[in-house]
Symmetry: C2
């Protein structure tokens, strides 16, 4: 890609925010959607910094403004006209402003049309991407992952009606079925949060010791238990073997966390596999988007269950926010080449 | 039953101890195995009181002796010859003295022959019942439940080779297959501890509110999800619906804990049902032993899955300790009627 500074004024682009429960990640993006700079702060919506002098404590959203200033105040000052677009739990009831849920299936355009606007005293407003709600006997919700999915889809070259299965492993793993640029259906598994709760708040953690490196054999052993001849006993029984294998000297303390991880991820992927067997759609394209170590684990688990080998997506959130900003007209698509620097703006006007 | 005081000297009998991780329950038992008095203290092995002056801090087991004195020192003084028999985590590596594990299948006699003896400076020794270990790809252990099972079996009138399935719901639920007075096989489900970890240490607890009374409808709804048309999605997915049904106004905050309880117990019983389908033994007799409210929940869950209606056992631990004390010769069986007060002692000699 041609460096942005040769094509557009320095201030053009977007400040994109991935604002979750426990962390805030911000991207300064250039006029072509390229990430110029990334910053990471612990200012999740449940962990905001104290309000600064410039934003009175009494003002609604003061703590959010304070986090924003602390994280990228210099960007806002240097380029005061840059639009701001955020996704994630910042749009929840506990966030800066509650953003609506759209119902699945949802397209990129529908998300772009549904932005929630938060006026700011000293600068351009913040726009927040809607969350997604899937109604049903077991409803499902997401905030932030819809943007990652759009980012993943933007990077794929596929026939228009080819279904794609996108896995977003993490605290709450999401598995999303997308087609024709729209999110059709998704499932949530609380795998990451359950792992942490079991490790930190049950007897299973008492015998665990930290390992110097991931124990892939222990992880694979957990995967195998989740799908092997004792699969019928289920998760609530399997996890106890983390302790009993330790008590009988068959699983080292340093291997127990990875074994438990294998059990849980194995159960998640087994459930996904069963759910896929019950749906008429069989996606041939599989994409993972998440922390590298976690994606590595899911690749092994997916292979164990006969899924196609997934590709790994990167920068999906920034790309997704850019796609939404484009569709919403917050930014304009640049010219396809440097010889037509103003065409895109004209087309988008 | 004829009151013990008319048949035997006042000091005859047993002090029986159910000594677990978080609590100590003691029973003063008469010469016929009847419970004369029960006391309950929070002196679980992980929560012992400070050592008293009569037991020097430096002495091994001083804190255990101190708990014993605090709980039933008056009984020990009034009848210094009474034997002491304990079961539970007091025999674990973190207990007063580590008691061996016996391997399944295990009979009453094997348990009685395997008692661990703890000498005490100022009185009779404490005997500790062995734990049980079931070897295999997924080993299983118990400490204390083996005694409850023997207590349950002592109360049943069954053909000698009739298999019995005994459920012991709790922090770690045990399901035990017994036959001919022996424990043949058992499974463990971490249902109770997982429920507490999810409620107290994940996002699911954030929206829960305490209910004035158990919400049986919410519990039944959770049971139904665990076995219904969305069963394939599995536990890690189902539990997230506790939150999303709340977010969509379909589950009141006061109903969420019971719904989650239904999901978890439903998954436990579904797993038990699958495991039973894979074994050649189909017990027609089903017994539950545990807290009344918990047993009530399991009765409903078992019925939902087509199990026979269970009977509820009470006083199983005291009865089991008595049976083991008899088999070990710590106490002698009394005469079958008051006209032969000394026969039983002769028979047992």
């Amino acid at each position: 890609m041609v460096p942005a500074r040769f094509l557009v004024p320095a201030e053009a682009g977007l400040i994109a925010l991935d604002w979750g429960t426990s962390a805030l990640r911000v991207f300064r993006m250039g006029a072509h959607g390229e990430v110029l700079e990334t910053r990471h702060r612990p200012w999740g919506i449940m962990n905001l910094p104290p309000a600064t002098a410039s934003a009175a404590d009494s003002e609604p959203g003061a703590a959010f403004e304070s986090a924003l200033q602390d994280t990228c105040g210099d960007w806002l000052t240097a380029a005061p006209g840059l639009p701001l677009l955020a996704c994630g739990m910042v749009g929840s009831a506990q966030g800066w402003r509650e953003a609506k849920y759209l119902h699945t299936p949802t397209s990129l355009d529908a998300l772009a049309r549904g932005l929630t606007l938060v006026e700011r005293r000293d600068g351009p407003p913040l726009h927040i991407v809607p969350g997604l709600l899937q109604q049903g006997a077991l409803p499902n919700v997401m905030r932030g992952e819809e943007t990652q999915v759009l980012g993943v889809l933007a990077g794929l070259a596929l026939p228009a009606d080819a279904p794609v299965l996108i896995g977003l492993p993490g605290t709450h793993s999401k598995w999303v079925l997308a087609r024709r640029g729209a999110i059709e259906q998704f499932h949530t598994f609380m795998t990451g949060e359950v792992f942490a709760a079991l490790r930190d708040h049950t007897i299973l953690g008492k015998t665990m010791q930290a390992a110097a490196a991931p124990d892939d054999d222990a992880f694979a052993r957990g995967l195998e238990v989740a799908r092997g001849s004792d699969a019928a006993l289920g998760l609530l029984s399997h996890i106890f073997s983390t302790r009993t294998l330790g008590l009988t000297g068959a699983l080292a303390p340093t291997a127990q966390a990875d074994y438990l991880s294998g059990l849980l991820i194995g159960h998640e992927v087994a459930s996904l596999s069963r759910a896929q067997d019950q749906t008429p759609t069989t996606p041939q394209t599989l994409v993972l988007c998440g922390e590298p170590d976690l994606c590595r684990r899911y690749v092994v688990a997916l292979q164990t269950h006969g899924f196609a080998t997934p590709t790994i997506a990167t920068q999906a959130t920034a790309t997704g926010l850019w796609q939404i900003a484009l569709a919403a007209g917050l930014v304009v698509a640049p010219a396809p080449s440097s010889s037509h620097p103003f065409t895109a703006g004209s087309l988008a006007a």
